[in-house]
Amino acid sequence: MASVSTGSTNDGRKMDLLRFATAGSVDDGKSTLIGRLLLDSKAIFEDQLAAVEATSSAKGHDYTDLSLLTDGLRSEREQGITIDVAYRYFATPKRKFIIADTPGHVQYTRNMVTGASTADLGLVLVDARHGMTEQSRRHAVLLSLLRVPHLVLAINKMDLVDYSQEIYDQIAADFTQFATKLNVPDLEVIPISALQGDNVVERSENMKWYSGPTLMHHLENVHVASDRDLVDVRFPVQYVVRPKSDEHHDYRGYAGQVAGGVLRPGDEVVVLPSGMTSRIAGIDLFDREIGEAFPPMSVTVRLEDDVDVSRGDMLARVNNAPKPSQDIDAMICWMTTNPLRPRQKLAIKHTTRSARALVKDVQYRLDVNTLHRDSATKELGLNEIGRIQLRTTVPLLVDPYSKNRTTGSFILIDEATGVTVGAGMINTAS
């Protein structure tokens, strides 16, 4: 027997997926918390734990430093900090989790923005002894700017404040008040001790006054399905499938990932930016024809008419389509040392469309600690966030980021170095 066909067994374990981003510094116990989630959900293997135990004792620690599980690169271990986004995986019978673990310090804002861009939930960690800090406020601001729909404030190290309810109440009140200035649709405040395990997976015996969920219970049960836009059809065309084989001689399909709404065969659609209309003849998922396609499915759409459609175009509904626009107003997170300035020219990638963009104006810089808008400065430095106006060489098919995180986002690329230098979230287009 050289090889075997496995024969279809089942449809996989039917589980949901939750992507969440963590923010906080080593001091807040973030790595310890992640280590605890991985350990308690049995995502840590013996050889990984053995390596960490060996390193811990070589460093002279008398405890197992769980943060070593997540600090992956040698340079990070040497400096004892997390310098990049690390992705971690664990699963419970209910859900699979992808953690984007990001460093908390201000000089790593770009990493946090990166981790938050794909997150359904943001986890902000504070030290119960210190309460809200400039850093925790900044994390909340960034998560809200990136429109992460669910926010959890984990008040850690409750063991060091005698599991005090007063301290929990005070920090929760401070944070809730601050959050009213932000866009936080869903907030949960959970008192924990990552080191002792209180309210992480197991309910704490030390905080009987707390009646809310444990962190793991919340992660397993927070409702994320309704976060997607199932109303406004947006289908950016990625690739035109033309087999040109005898069997599929006339096949012409438009492949892409649904960014919004539900597409069905028979629906009338408009092709942007041309404005031509047609009807959906069929939707293919590999060798099957399906009755509906919705986010984030990757499908191939066939149209009834022979209209001209290519990569970078978008299918939408006739009476519900983004307006093709060359003037973009957006919030930008700047990610490189050379500052962003007016008159600068950059490459821009938005959905499947690439173009060039001219920075027309830097309107203000946002102080992410105080939310103050500084309009005196006309440039943005590394890790700074501000509002800018762009003019693009070709029309982009945009929505406000608040409406759709896929059609409302873009990246800016330095044309000389090829490096991604900016992350943009669209306010409006005209």
Binding site: S3, S75, Y87, Y89, Y239, F286, P296, M297, A347, V419
Partner: protein, 304 residues
């Protein structure tokens, strides 16, 4: 026509599949000359399946490249050939033996074939003029991989610079390259070992038989069970005996250990993996054991 999702929710496996297919299409649309790295192992087979789905009913619009260590399991090569002929894709074999003969890499008798693959691979990419190479790396495998991007930029020397990676946001991938540079693409970055098995089970696709329980003559070396073979002469004190085993990873057979197992179906493997207490690399890959930073170092040199 089927209506499979009355509640508009996708299972995690469907979400992972959709993300990976998006990546395959993005690369095919934006890169001049992509190539898929195909080892015949389970991860690269899942990649083949995803690529098949991404472009169906058209053929996969790029060739597949295999680095032949000369020490590959025959069962794996057979599976490779079956996949290649079923999908009608072009197969390019870059042989470590040939690379040694041509002086591209030097076999000093101490360096593992896995390590000699680096030079062989880089040479094959350069000769083929490939600008993007799909690899089956997963972020759950190892700490250095956990920080690697889906689009992993390599300089003219094929090196990875972990401190200077491009930020990767939303599903917007930046494929810009300078002359001589290339991109390693990891479409299954977010899959775990268990996801791979779930998917193989669900799709009912062909994988090499050595993943399933079988009788094999094996011997102990460095705490691993290695296969008896002409390439792998027994050293002093080593004794080969027949055991019931299976492989969790497939690679250079002189270095790839097997585990004792009676799992003979995908379902039994899933059950075994779900309760496994050692990572697949830690258990069975001699090449990752040399130092804690072994993978990081090899990646910097140009390894996958």
């Amino acid at each position: 026509m089927t209506q499979t999702h009355p509640d508009y929710r996708l299972s995690q496996l469907d979400q992972l599949e959709a993300e990976s297919i998006h990546i395959f299409r993005e690369v095919a649309a934006e890169f001049e000359k992509p190539v898929l790295m195909f080892s015949g192992g389970k991860d690269s087979i899942v990649m083949m399946r995803l690529a098949e789905k991404a472009f169906y009913p058209a053929k996969i619009p790029f060739p597949v490249l295999q680095v032949d260590t000369g020490y590959d399991f025959p069962e794996v090569l057979q599976t490779r050939d079956n996949w290649v002929s079923r999908l009608g894709v072009k197969l390019i074999v870059a042989s470590v033996e040939d690379a040694i003969k041509n002086g591209i890499v030097v076999d000093d008798g101490k360096t593992s074939r896995n390590r000699l693959q680096i030079g062989t691979l880089l040479n094959a990419l350069e000769e083929g003029g490939f600008t993007a190479a799909f690899g089956g790396g997963r972020r759950d495998e190892e700490k250095a991989r956990a920080k690697e991007r889906v689009y992993s930029h390599r300089d003219e020397f094929g090196q990875w610079d972990p401190k200077n990676q491009r930020p990767e946001l939303w599903s917007l991938y930046n494929g810009r390259l300078h002359e001589g540079e290339h991109m390693r693409i990891f479409p299954i970055s977010n899959w775990t070992e268990l996801d791979i098995w779930d998917y193989i089970g669900r799709e009912g696709i062909e994988i090499p038989s050595i993943y399933f329980s079988h009788q094999r003559r094996v011997f102990q070396r460095d705490g691993m069970l290695l296969t008896e073979s002409d390439y792998n002469p027994l050293r002093n004190g080593e004794v080969a005996e027949e055991r019931t085993v299976r492989f969790r990873t497939v690679g250079d057979l002189t270095l790839t250990g097997c585990v004792e197992s009676t799992a003979s179906t995908v379902q039994e493997i899933i059950e075994e993996v779900a309760i496994a207490r050692v990572t697949e690399r830690g258990a069975t890959r001699g090449d990752d054991r040399f130092s804690e930073a072994a993978m990081e170092d090899r990646k910097k040199e140009g390894y996958f």
